[in-house]
Symmetry: C2
Subunit: 425 residues, 2 copies
């Protein structure tokens, strides 16, 4: 990676993030693209930094020597004791998912569980002896890594078939991924195909009160959650799936055992600690009906404040810039905060007013956003996705550039993370 191609993203090193204004010399970064392509959730850093002393984990040398960390007969042996309890507890506190009578299985991020689900669901409908793979579809625009991971894996059992709008199999089994709120556009999604043979995976990574009003506990057959976008702990790679069906739960555990012998126990312990810390904070301090001051706020108030401030700034910058349309979201009553509020999606999804390639327009503002075409449909070339969950520095520079006139300077493309090159060539 040459110096001229470096990005400004505030990236944590060894668990520490430089997240203060003085760490960026705005003058020296004038000639590089601002990378707002990836949804790296480091906006949560100031909150977690403020509770570092109260919420840490110490793991001694003799811990986690065994594969079998759990002897509870109702639990999977690799689940750290208390881990699934903490998950059930936080969902109860927030009221965003039903966990009573459901099975919970942890994975190396929800992405690992996504692939385990595809295989387990495919196994229920095909013997694998025919050449017919189970189609996996999702309404575009959708999270591009769904497609990439399925296409990379090259399973004999299922295949990525892309946008539900172009899916025309009139019969037979299929799997539909329903992401609500949706990445990239923040909209609440419902299944689109709606015919016999459908198996639904609900991805609820963003169904937390800082992003969207919590209108009730989700109660779908299969619900995916992850630490990454909820608390910001993307490096832990801890996700979980909540499933109703016992046989599906067994199949997922069996895959987890046979393919990776569970997932990292240190990561689970940390997730458990963080989830219980959040739940504790709401038991000590009841959920305020009025937004608290910054000195008393807990995670969701912090997240909601930062996100709604940023969305105000984003709307103002887009208005001033006058090149893009932003989606408008209706306000809804949030059961968690006990009031009506607008959604504050984790990504801004902008459409160029003229129909031009929005990513090119962004480049003229020295902004590298994720191209709309990467979300499953060429219809979205005029759109672009921008992360709203990066560092304060990154966001301030984003607003500054978006509000300024376009630049005529040509800037080299920022290297894409999906084409990572180990020698930086």
């Amino acid at each position: 990676m040459e110096q001229s191609k470096e990005t400004i993203n505030s990236i944590p090193i060894n668990g520490k993030v430089s997240n203060c204004d003085e760490n960026i010399d705005h003058n020296s970064t004038d000639d590089v693209l601002l990378d707002v392509d990836i949804g790296d959730p480091i906006m949560y850093y100031p909150y977690w930094k403020s509770v570092d002393e109260e919420c840490s984990v110490t793991i001694k040398a003799s811990a986690f020597l065994s594969y079998f960390v759990n002897l509870n007969k109702d639990e999977f042996f690799y689940h750290v004791p208390g881990f699934t309890d903490a998950i059930r507890r936080i969902h109860r506190v927030v009221g965003n998912a039903v966990t009573e009578g459901r099975y919970i299985i942890a994975g190396t991020g929800s992405s690992q569980l996504f692939n385990y689900l595809l295989l387990a669901l495919s196994n229920t409908v095909t013997s694998g002896t025919t050449n017919k793979r189970v189609p996996v579809v999702c309404a575009a625009p959708y999270y591009g890594l769904f497609a990439a991971s399925v296409e990379t894996e090259k399973s004999s059992m299922y295949e990525w078939r892309g946008d539900t709008r172009t899916f025309d199999d009139k019969e037979g089994p299929y799997i539909e991924v329903v992401t609500s709120p949706n990445n990239p556009d923040g909209l609440w999604r419902k299944p689109m195909v709606n015919r016999e043979g459908g198996m639904l995976i609900h991805d609820l990574a963003y169904y937390w009160p800082q992003y969207v009003p919590i209108t009730g506990p989700a109660d779908y057959d299969i619900m995916l959650f992850t630490m990454s976008k909820f608390t910001g702990h993307a490096g832990s790679r801890i996700g979980w799936v909540i499933v109703k069906d016992k046989e599906l739960a067994s199949a997922l555990m069996n895959q987890s055992f046979l393919r990776t012998i569970g997932c990292c126990q240190e990561g689970q312990l940390r997730a458990k600690t963080i989830l219980n810390f959040i739940a504790d904070s709401y038991e000590k301090t009841p959920i305020p009906k009025v937004m608290p001051t910054t000195t008393t706020e807990n995670l969701f108030e912090f997240g909601y404040r930062v996100m709604s401030d940023r969305w105000e700034m984003m709307k103002a910058a887009v208005k001033q810039n006058n090149l893009f349309n932003l989606l408008e979201y209706p306000d809804q009553h949030c059961n968690f905060f006990g009031k009506f509020h607008l959604p504050n999606p984790a990504f801004a999804w902008l459409e160029s007013k003229t129909g031009e390639d929005a990513s090119e327009l962004m480049r003229e503002h020295k902004i590298q956003a994720r191209k709309g075409a990467m979300f499953g449909s060429s219809l979205h070339t005029k759109c672009v996705r921008i992360t709203m969950v990066g560092s304060d520095d990154q966001f301030r520079l984003l607003i500054q550039r978006l509000s300024s006139p376009p630049s005529s300077v040509h800037l080299d493309e920022v290297p894409s993370i999906s084409k990572v090159d180990i020698n930086g060539n």
Copy 2:
């Protein structure tokens, strides 16, 4: 799981292991099978317990908020800084693998990397448009989870074809797994097929001085290692692969990114801490030419002492029992310890003298061992695998039962871990 089916295995709960004699009431366990089926490496507990204060990790709330933990251009972004340095360092200290000029990629255990390797290697030789999958073979007896994970995954690109002896494809690409020392039999393995088109994966999980004399640094194209059997930290699910080829390394990183966005950073941090602790201990205390006393021993001396003591007891019990043959291993010069010694494999591989089913003979001694037929060939029904790396309690009871006359009492089978049932039914 009913009470009568419970096993005696000393299993750690919440990172703590009950590993003292007084915790087992030998009288009360007379009527249950002793489960020595699984190679759960808790023999390392006393060593790590003794250094708990010196070798712990504290992770604060604000750590690992980002996917991008590493900005070094020669490193993969999800590798915790210093993680691969610690791996290179421990291999230098032990002298068991060449890492200079090699690429290192971490995974959720070496099992995850094994499947990533199969796909990456298959991608180099087939477009995936034909129905021909790349055969994956291994000389039996082999680790059964290789077969189970490949068969479970149902890839369109590769398929498990089992024992090299029955593999008769005269041409075309194939992948051969070479485990040295081998699980279950502890023998040093070489490739068996040896023809054009072969791609070799060397699994070196047990190539550490407590198990086998270190005769020189391994220098294969693809080498798999894991924390599980090396330090005993099986719960961390941290493995790594050392590869020579840059394009293969890139392909593995790409899969790791697309399929799970790396692996748990807490687990990597802990592995780094533990590996550096071991390396430090040998820099402070040079490797002794004579085995040290228990008060001065470091990990490898501890491991070697426990393993060689256990093997002496095992040989004596088998001799007294007179029903089984044990393999005999030649002594070799160990460059690490600077002396000749015998291998102390992590598993005992016993063959019944009469050719009877060895697992049935073991059951008559109230011992549940892993059946020989589970290692890839019906030829091995007369064999059985017993873990040598369990707790002291478990091992003492094993020796006691193996040395005693057979019992006529019929005992129910211990539930198999591969048939895990979430409700214990």
